[in-house]
Structures are given as structure tokens and as C-alpha cells.
């Protein structure tokens, strides 16, 4: 199905919202208002937006600790998301989860995960539920290039193949397995070959800074899974424009390399394409930018003004 004008505007708006969200959160972090680990997805907005546009609200999804953008693109309320980062009671997990554990079953978000690769079998369990219930729901699991070296990832590729599960393995290959080049950590450079070895259909997205390419490839995999065609592995070549986490001094890559990728920044390039390729006026694009700026201000205000959890709530929610 070709993308409509509202789809294109949603893509741009959501990519920009994610970018500004992560930038605002970075400020909060540097200001000491966010504790613990924070792994911004700056640079990887196009994969989040393109893949999530191919999903329905009732499809399930797991992602990694770099999952703020994916969670928001799937439908997580960004106010609740920011409040969670600030440890507030209004956060999506009442402040108990933090940056790496966004969860919202109402939108099929079965959790970010702080353990590399751990969300992969969980997404496949949800896919098995969809299959057993004879629904056409699918499940998508986001993970990074580093996760392909985890045993549970490989085990799950096999399980998905033998049970023909309606699942999409979405690998964001951003070239770095945390703070180490992935090419030093795998044999063949093309990660699709791992899935092929298990008998799984696999596809490469050579430019995953293009949200439309991400959308089209993901949609084909989603439709195949909905139709009972089984799992697909997608390797999306992308790049994070900031460190693994805040404070990463990035000795593993050159400033020139980062600068080259910044020239391709998907939020900028896509805004230009909206005008040049899809006939939007510069005023329409500028209006989106103004809207997002206003929304981010409101998100930040909501989070900062939200109440803290009561110490007496510390023991609640361990058991159902």
C-alpha cells in the first residue's frame, strides 16, 4: 500500500519527536535529573518509525535499552515515557523501571530490555500466542548487531523457524556492538547469513536512514507473517550519531566517520524529501517542527512537575 500524505507527515513528525525527546532527555541527564543508564537512539529514528508504521497497535513488540524511539513510535505516551526517565509516579512504570524497561501492554509493548538479546525469545512467545489463538497478529523484536552473538538469539531463530512463528527479527546494525566494532566480533560481515543458516528468510535494508525503505521492507515481512508465511530476519544498516550511552568518549570511531553520517541525518534529509519529492510546502514542514517543539516543552513540563513515587509504594507490584 503506498504511503499517504498523513503517513509521510506522521513519519517526519515522529522521527523529529523522538530526536527532540532524546535531546531533551540528554539535557535532563546532564543536569542530574535522570539517574542510571541512558542510551539515546539519536540517529536511529528512521528504523523505529519505518518499522512501527508497518505494525498494528495490537501487534506485539520487544526492544532493547535503546528503545525510547521504538516505544514512542509504537504508541507509548511520550509524557509517560519522559516521566519514567525522571523517576516520577506518572511514568509508564510508576518510576520502577526507568530508561531500559518501558512496557505498555495496551500498545503491545512487551518491554525494552537491559539484557542484550533477551527480548528476542519473549517476542517469539507472543508470536506463538498469536499463532495458537489463530489471529493474524504478528510480533516484532528489535535488537542490535551485538545481540547476534548471544546464544538465546540463535536458539530463538531456530525455534521461530521450526514453528513457523509470525515474527520479525529486526536487527539494527549500527556498526558497533556497544563500544566495539561489530566487524571484529563476527565472521562474515553480513548478519543476514546467520538467519539464512537456520533456514530463515532474510533481507538487508542497505540504507536504513530512509524510513520509507524501512517501512516497505518491514511491511512485506509483516504481511508474510500475517499470512502464515513465518518469520523474517531484517538487517537494517543504520548508525547512532551519539555514544553508546551518555559519557561515552567514543575512542572506537573517528570524528570524521560520525561527521559523514551526520550529513545523512535522516530527520534533515527526510524533511527535504517531503518538499522536493512529495510536494509538501516548506510551511507545512515548518509547522511540524513548531508543533514538535511545543509538544516537547509540554512533555518536559509534565515530567518535571509530576509527583515522585511515595516511599511506601516500594514493595508494591512485585506479585500480581
Amino acid at each position: 500500500m503506498p504511503l499517504t500524505r498523513p503517513d509521510l507527515l506522521w513519519m517526519y513528525r515522529t522521527m523529529l519527536l523522538i530526536r527532540r525527546f532524546e535531546e531533551r532527555a540528554t539535557q535532563f541527564f546532564l543536569n542530574g535529573q535522570i539517574r542510571g543508564s541512558f542510551h539515546p537512539c539519536i540517529g536511529q529514528e528512521a528504523t523505529a518509525v519505518g518499522a512501527c508504521l508497518a505494525l498494528r497497535r495490537d501487534d506485539t513488540m520487544t526492544c532493547t535499552y535503546r528503545g525510547h524511539g521504538q516505544s514512542i513510535a509504537k504508541g507509548l505516551d511520550p509524557q509517560e515515557a519522559m516521566a519514567e526517565l525522571l523517576g516520577r509516579r506518572t511514568g509508564c512504570s510508576k518510576g520502577k523501571g526507568g530508561s531500559m524497561h518501558y512496557t505498555d501492554p495496551a500498545i503491545g509493548l512487551l518491554g525494552e530490555n537491559a539484557i542484550v538479546g533477551a527480548g528476542v525469545p519473549i517476542a517469539c512467545g507472543a508470536a506463538l500466542t498469536a499463532q495458537l489463538d489463530k489471529t493474524d497478529r504478528v510480533s516484532l523484536t528489535f535488537f542490535g548487531d551485538g545481540a547476534v552473538n548471544q546464544g538465546v538469539f540463535l536458539e530463538t531463530l531456530n525455534l521461530a523457524v521450526i514453528w513457523k512463528l509470525p515474527v520479525i527479527f529486526f536487527c539494527e546494525n549500527n556498526l558497533y556492538s556497544e563500544m566495539t566494532p561489530i566487524r571484529a566480533m563476527v565472521g562474515p560481515e553480513r548478519l543476514t547469513r546467520r538467519a539464512e543458516a537456520f533456514g530463515m528468510r532474510s533481507v538487508l535494508i542497505p540504507d536504513a536512514y530512509d524510513p520509507i525503505a524501512v517501512y516497505e521492507t518491514t511491511l512485506a515481512a509483516v504481511e508474510r507473517a500475517r499470512g502464515g508465511g513465518g518469520p523474517t530476519f531484517i538487517e537494517a544498516l543504520t548508525y547512532r550519531l551519539v555514544g553508546h550511552m551518555i559519557g561515552d568518549n567514543e575512542p572506537y570511531r573517528t570524528k570524521e566517520e560520525v561527521a559523514e553520517w551526520r550529513k545523512r541525518d535522516s530527520t534533515v534529509v527526510f524533511s527535504q524529501r517531503l518538499v522536493a519529492e512529495f510536494g509538501f510546502s516548506p510551511a507545512e514542514v515548518a509547522a511540524v517542527e513548531a508543533e514538535v517543539a511545543a509538544e516537547i516543552a509540554e512533555i518536559a513540563r509534565f515530567a518535571e512537575q509530576s509527583p515522585w513515587p511515595e516511599p511506601s509504594e516500594v514493595g508494591a507490584d512485585v506479585f500480581a
Partner: protein, 325 residues
């Protein structure tokens, strides 16, 4: 009507009844279908419930327990069978970091009604990687319930309750209990999780135990009675939640406590129970608390070595005599 069933038959009956009652229950595990499981607990279930609900898995404990977490998050009640408890370490991320914590990390937004069925313990010469007793690990991590039945009656009633739980449950059987027999009523019944049972009343010594060690404890209590020592045997049945009230009520009566389990003594449940009792009932104690457990060594294979590594009636009886001396 009450009949005699083996522990394995009682478990199979619980699985059959609950799977008939609740179509969301499904089994995942290695060799559980055609083969019926290495201890034959799931024998016949494939024919009865079909391959969608009795799913033979590859030898991928982390993978299929992870699928179990995802199934549980989306409304199913998976039972993941770990052939030997020792394999839980292979799946430990999914159990400890995922299943146990997801409800809390989501602020109560999700629940994980995942049941892990497994068996543990030594006494068969299986060696150090097939003979461990690991309930302490699961009891230590908040978010899990841990069940260890000792009798066929308890096995059935506790498994049925565990399959109605909204939280992850580690259901730990004992490999040397499967063939033991005991009365099980034909009528339906449930046993609530977290409730201990006094398996033998007594006045002089409280003897706390669970799983197969309860059988040794009862033998020791019988022999102690011949020596004029009245021993009260409490079967915890669950280590999480722990029925501390039952222990304290008995200790306040007897003033003496022995804790016996097959897990290693070092930091075993006995250590925790001893600490709790001295916190809550110090003034009632007439003697130091004594713990009985496996030696703090890997479980050896050879019979004369394994016999001294694992606690039995003799060690428990010696402990009982020690606390009344």
C-alpha cells in the same frame, strides 16, 4: 474416595485436570511428547491434548523458557519443563532477570503466569550436574514462588494451585519421589501456596523440612519417639512464600529447632530460617538451632561418596539428639 497414586501419577492427574479446565495451559519441554518426559510425568498428554499444547522443544532451555515468558505476558499459561533442575542455570536470565522482574519493572502493568516444572536432588548417582538442589537461588530472587511437594497428595494439590497463580512459579519435584505412593482423593482439591503442614505433631523438637527430606525427617521422628523425644515435623511445601508463622508457632511450643534439607548447608534455607527464628522467637529458644544439609561439595557420583554427601535419617536424628542434649 481415596486411592493410592504415585507422585508421578498425581502430577499427571493435576496436569490433565487443569489442562482440561483451562485451554490456555500448554506444555513446552524436551522429550515431553512421544517419550512422555524422562520421568514419564507427561506420558499420554500428547495423545490427549495434541501437539499444539504439548510442544516438544529443541534442547534450548534459554530459548523455550524465554518463549514461555512471552506466552505468559500475552495471556497463556505456559508450563516449561526443565528436565533437570541443573539446566535452570542455562535459562537463568529468562527466569531471574525477565520472569521474576517484569511485573515490578512495568509498575504492575504486566503479569507473568509462567510455571517452570523441574525435578532435582541426588541419590541416584547422576553426578554433580544432575543432582543439585537449587531452591535457594529461586527463593532468594524476589518475584518468584517456589514449591517443593513431598507427597503425592501435596504434589497434586499444589500443582493445581500453581496453575491458577498469576505469578511465575518454580515447581520443584524430586527425582526419587516419582515412584513413591500415597493417598490421593478422587474429589477435586487445591492446596494454597505458602502454607506449611504439620506432618507429625510433637512437643520437644520442631523439625522443619520440605521435599524428599520430609520422608527422612518422618523416619527420624519415629526413631526419636522410641528414645522418648517427641518431634514435630513441619513440611514447608513452599520456600517462597515461606510460612514463617507455622515455624514460629511450633518453636514457641517446643523451644528447639532443627532444619533439614538436601540443598547445601552453606547459605541454604536453613540459614535463613535460623536467622528469622532468632529475630522473632529468640526468647523461646532453649538450645542453639541446628541445620542439616548436603556437604558443601559438588554432589559425587559414586554411591559410598554420595551417601555421605547427602543428608538422611541418621544425620537428622543426630541433630534432634543434639538439640535436646
Amino acid at each position: 474416595m481415596t486411592r493410592e497414586l504415585t507422585y508421578a501419577q498425581a502430577l499427571r492427574e493435576a496436569l490433565t485436570e487443569e489442562m482440561t479446565r483451562d485451554p490456555n495451559i500448554l506444555l513446552l519441554g524436551e522429550d515431553i511428547g512421544v517419550y512422555g518426559g524422562v520421568f514419564k510425568v507427561t506420558e499420554g498428554l500428547l495423545a490427549k491434548f495434541g501437539p499444539e499444547r504439548v510442544r516438544e522443544t529443541p534442547i534450548s532451555e534459554a530459548g523455550f523458557v524465554g518463549l514461555g515468558v512471552g506466552l505468559a505476558l500475552t495471556g497463556k499459561r505456559p508450563i516449561c519443563e526443565l528436565m533437570f533442575m541443573d539446566f535452570a542455570f542455562v535459562a537463568s536470565d529468562q527466569i531471574f532477570n525477565q520472569a521474576a522482574k517484569m511485573r515490578y519493572m512495568s509498575g504492575g502493568r504486566v503479569k507473568v503466569p509462567l510455571l517452570i516444572r523441574t525435578q532435582q536432588g541426588g541419590g541416584r548417582g547422576n553426578g554433580a550436574q544432575h543432582s543439585q538442589s537449587l531452591e535457594t537461588f529461586f527463593t532468594h530472587i524476589p518475584g518468584l514462588k517456589v514449591v517443593l511437594p513431598a507427597t503425592p497428595y501435596d504434589a497434586k494439590g499444589l500443582l493445581k494451585s500453581a496453575l491458577r497463580e498469576e505469578n511465575p512459579v518454580i515447581f520443584i519435584e524430586h527425582k526419587l519421589l516419582y515412584a513413591t505412593k500415597g493417598p490421593v482423593p478422587e474429589e477435586a482439591y487445591l492446596i494454597p501456596l505458602g502454607k506449611a503442614e504439620v506432618k507429625r505433631g510433637g512437643q520437644d523438637v520442631t523439625l522443619v523440612s520440605y521435599s524428599r527430606t520430609v520422608l527422612h525427617a518422618l523416619e527420624a521422628a519415629e526413631e526419636a519417639a522410641g528414645l522418648g523425644i517427641s518431634v514435630e515435623v513441619i513440611d514447608l511445601r513452599c520456600t517462597a512464600p515461606l510460612d514463617l508463622d507455622a515455624i514460629l508457632a511450633s518453636v514457641r511450643k517446643t523451644g528447639r529447632l532443627v532444619i533439614a534439607h538436601e540443598a547445601h548447608r552453606q547459605l541454604g534455607l536453613g540459614a535463613e530460617i535460623a536467622a528469622l527464628v532468632q529475630e522473632h522467637a529468640f526468647d523461646y529458644l532453649d538450645a542453639p538451632i541446628v541445620r542439616v544439609g548436603a556437604l558443601d561439595i559438588p554432589i559425587p557420583a559414586s554411591k559410598p561418596l554420595e551417601d555421605v554427601a547427602l543428608p538422611g535419617k541418621a544425620q537428622i536424628l543426630a541433630a534432634v539428639k543434639q538439640v535436646v542434649a
